[in-house]
Symmetry: C2
Subunit: 253 residues, 2 copies
């Protein structure tokens, strides 16, 4: 973990994406938007497979994912792991820590990842100065909670193949490849990590990926996923993007 220079455009892009996420569901004035984009912080590069928030640690900053991919990890006594959240560039991965600074889960870089650490104090200051921003933060956290709730249902009640199909659909939507649904996008998850997201073993995840490939739904190759038949994949995963709240018209409240 070391400080990073020369990626300011990446940072601007990530902040802009987060702003997009917020304005998708909350109404923010130009001044509020500018204040958000001016949040101070520190760019840090994290090596693959390293925690940048450790379990039980008390944190005083939240992490915006600038590039790469991050996961929230839970772990049982005998070392089995479950990933309870995935965070793409433009996600404020642990905004919740502003309210609950004692990390109940570790945050781990699943690939080479660059994060931007923003002090909690600045969120508090911003929220106090602009109540609508405070609302937007709260709302953003609730979207993450809605995703988690969907994951609980998926991992609790869907069979293995459906779980994987569902995840592919979700990441396709969140990566905003949209437009043509039959397309391809970056897939940085190893099969081991995929298994940790879906509550399976990597052996079985592998077999289910094969099944999805053989029936022409989707295939993963060279760190990319190709969606061969969106409708079929969506049907297998019983996927409905409503919970992602992507089309919630923000309302003045």
């Amino acid at each position: 973990m070391h400080r990073v220079r020369a990626t300011t455009t990446d940072l601007e892009q990530a902040l802009a994406r987060w702003l997009d996420r917020l304005t998708l569901r909350s109404v923010l004035s130009a001044e509020e938007q500018q204040a958000l984009l001016s949040l101070p912080g520190e760019l840090v590069a994290i090596a693959p497979n390293r925690d940048f928030v450790r379990l039980g640690e008390r944190v005083d900053r939240s992490c915006l994912i600038v590039s790469g991919l991050a996961g929230r990890f839970g772990q049982t006594r005998n070392g089995e792991r479950l990933i309870t959240a995935l965070h793409l560039p433009g996600d404020m991965a642990d905004l919740h820590s502003v309210m609950l600074p004692d990390a109940a889960n570790a945050l781990n870089a699943l690939t080479e990842t660059v994060i931007y650490r923003v002090p909690h104090d600045d969120f508090h200051a911003l929220g106090r100065r602009f109540p609508m921003l405070a609302e937007a933060f709260w709302r953003d956290c609730m979207v993450d909670a809605a995703i988690l709730s969907e994951w609980a249902l998926r991992n609790g009640r869907l069979p293995a193949k459906a779980r994987i199909a569902h995840l592919i659909c979700e990441l396709s939507c969140r990566a905003a490849v949209s437009g043509s649904r039959d397309g391809a996008f970056d897939w940085r998850l190893s099969q081991i990590q995929l298994a940790d997201v879906t509550g399976l073993t990597s052996v079985h995840a592998n077999r289910m990926l094969r099944a999805l490939r053989e029936e022409g739904a989707a295939q993963i190759k060279d760190r990319r996923v190709e969606i061969l038949d969106w409708k079929r994949l969506r049907a297998i995963g019983e996927f409905n993007d409503q919970y992602l709240q992507l089309y919630t018209a923000p309302e003045q409240s």
Copy 2:
């Protein structure tokens, strides 16, 4: 569903409990506390097994559980259900709907339940007048999210018996029977509902309950659970109450 009279003391108690929940983690002035206790609303009794928030519905009020027990339900295409949250008296079951009014999950009365419907407008007004209350609301939602995250881990990576033991431990803590851990408390969940919480079938939930009874960990009888050996139950369920945030000293921020 009909209006209710004559339970004003129950209501006061439930509001007081919710206030306790909040002040456990947030610092609130006397004025803020009074404002919270004065929240307007409507008392409604819900018959067992009835939804009081329907899937997809747009809601404009949040529900405080006054008495009874409520569950948040997810459902797969072929009708399998999963309960992703349980709410006891004193819980504002869908405070999150203040930020996301489109219900992504149904809320269901698991027993005869009385709720107190508080208009979203009043939360907004309160949050604007008292920023610390807005923070307390946000924080309260994050505690529910932390519980959900733990449930995802439990249902995704623990075997059946451990899942049930874990749930019993959690509800024991949340019901605040505390003090002596080896004790008894109300248990209103049928085995079918227990299975829907833990992602099992009721048949297997039944067998695991028998196992827990036979090894002297806990037993359920006549709508009550008796914890026979707290340490053993806790070990079986790999339970650690940290995620419940019960001992988080509230800090001035």
